[in-house]
Symmetry: C2
């Protein structure tokens, strides 16, 4: 009897997970405002009332789907602490654009805000992903207590990566591979400006950059800038 109970409980959770997966797929390809519970029910092969049995409404299902997407994205930020920093950041950028590519319309709708997506739960999820990105970068920079200027550079670069992805999704006029490199270059450029204003920041960047190879993305930027200036 106890196994039966266990099996039944797993069934509920499995069904919930299946619904979340179906909903995430739909919310990824169209704005959440345009996705109905009927559609989700039909895509999951169950009745509309049964959807409501598992989730009280579309918002709660949307939030569950968003939570899964947020976990997925935060997981992509994790990178071994090995090798040059520029190459690590470039690998993360590739995974970030994979994610953005995969969830394009849903990502745009979420980040641009709007009636269905501006709840305090969705905002908290977005902030948690930003914080995960921030924590990863700071840990790769090897900084225990980031000075205010470094925090500003990292957080503002994260917002730059978001907006670059949103602009890319709106027409895809620049190839994503170029934007991935450009964002790594932007990080170096913003860090250099920060370092030019703040000695503590300059010390962090000197330590980090001394191991960068000439053929990595940071070295590539220096070569490009020198050829631009000449």
């Amino acid at each position: 009897m106890s196994t039966g109970v266990v099996r039944r409980r797993m069934g509920v959770e499995e069904r919930r997970q299946q619904l979340i997966g179906v909903a995430l797929e739909l919310f990824s390809h169209r704005s959440p405002d345009e996705v109905s519970i009927d559609e989700i029910a039909s895509a999951a092969g169950i009745s509309r009332p049964l959807v409501y049995h598992y989730f009280p409404g579309k918002l709660s299902l949307y939030e569950a789907a968003l939570r899964r997407a947020a976990d997925d994205l935060a997981g992509r930020f994790v990178e071994p602490h090995e090798g040059p920093l520029g190459a690590r950041l470039l690998r993360v950028m590739r995974r970030f654009f994979d994610f953005v590519d995969q969830h394009g319309p849903g990502f745009s709708a979420l980040m641009r805000g709007g009636p269905a997506v501006g709840s305090s739960t969705t905002n908290a999820l977005i902030d948690a992903v930003r914080q995960a990105a921030y924590d990863q970068i700071v840990s790769h920079l090897g900084v225990e207590e980031p000075p205010a200027r470094l925090e500003l550079v990292v957080r503002s670069w994260i917002s730059l990566a978001e907006s670059t992805a949103l602009i890319w999704l709106d027409g895809r006029h620049v190839p994503r591979a170029e934007l991935e490199v450009q964002l790594v270059h932007n990080f170096a450029a913003l860090a250099a400006v920060g370092a030019a204003h703040d000695e503590e920041m300059a010390m962090v960047m000197r330590r980090v950059l001394k191991d960068e190879p000439g053929d990595g993305p940071f070295g590539d930027l220096v070569v490009r800038l020198i050829s631009l200036a000449s």
Copy 2:
């Protein structure tokens, strides 16, 4: 008699404008969620039902206040097409931070989204201000039809300016005057990265930068970066 009609109509519009001013003041200093119609009525020296006579609800009054703030901010982007570009951009950054300083909590609440502020009208107003900023910058760069890469640099720098302002408001750990200069430097750095990736963008930047003086903000950045590298 016709003058009487005119005077009465002006009274209505004046009262609306007064209410918008009072509401903007309150919405600037606290999150809109925390401001009640009662408070607005009391600050305007009129009764609560009279507020509803002019505005059907808090959202419409909030949107009217936001429209005034948006017009104010867009007006601050306008700068004569005279003198070096770096100095022009620095003057605009000063006026932008004046605005952010003046409307701090309201600006934060608006840009961070949330139940009271995520309507399609508020989103459209934010987009209109971003577009005004974009149009101004492109016109100062003297570009008729911006290539995709230039558009990306300008739009992503605008989002960087927004997020820098939001991070500054959250604790004001870095003096705003330094951030104003740093944002001008960030523009130069992001434009340089864009130019390092795209010949069309490089041509625009070479033309623009040839008139920059050594003691302007762009020249200052070059001096700082050289001293950093040495």
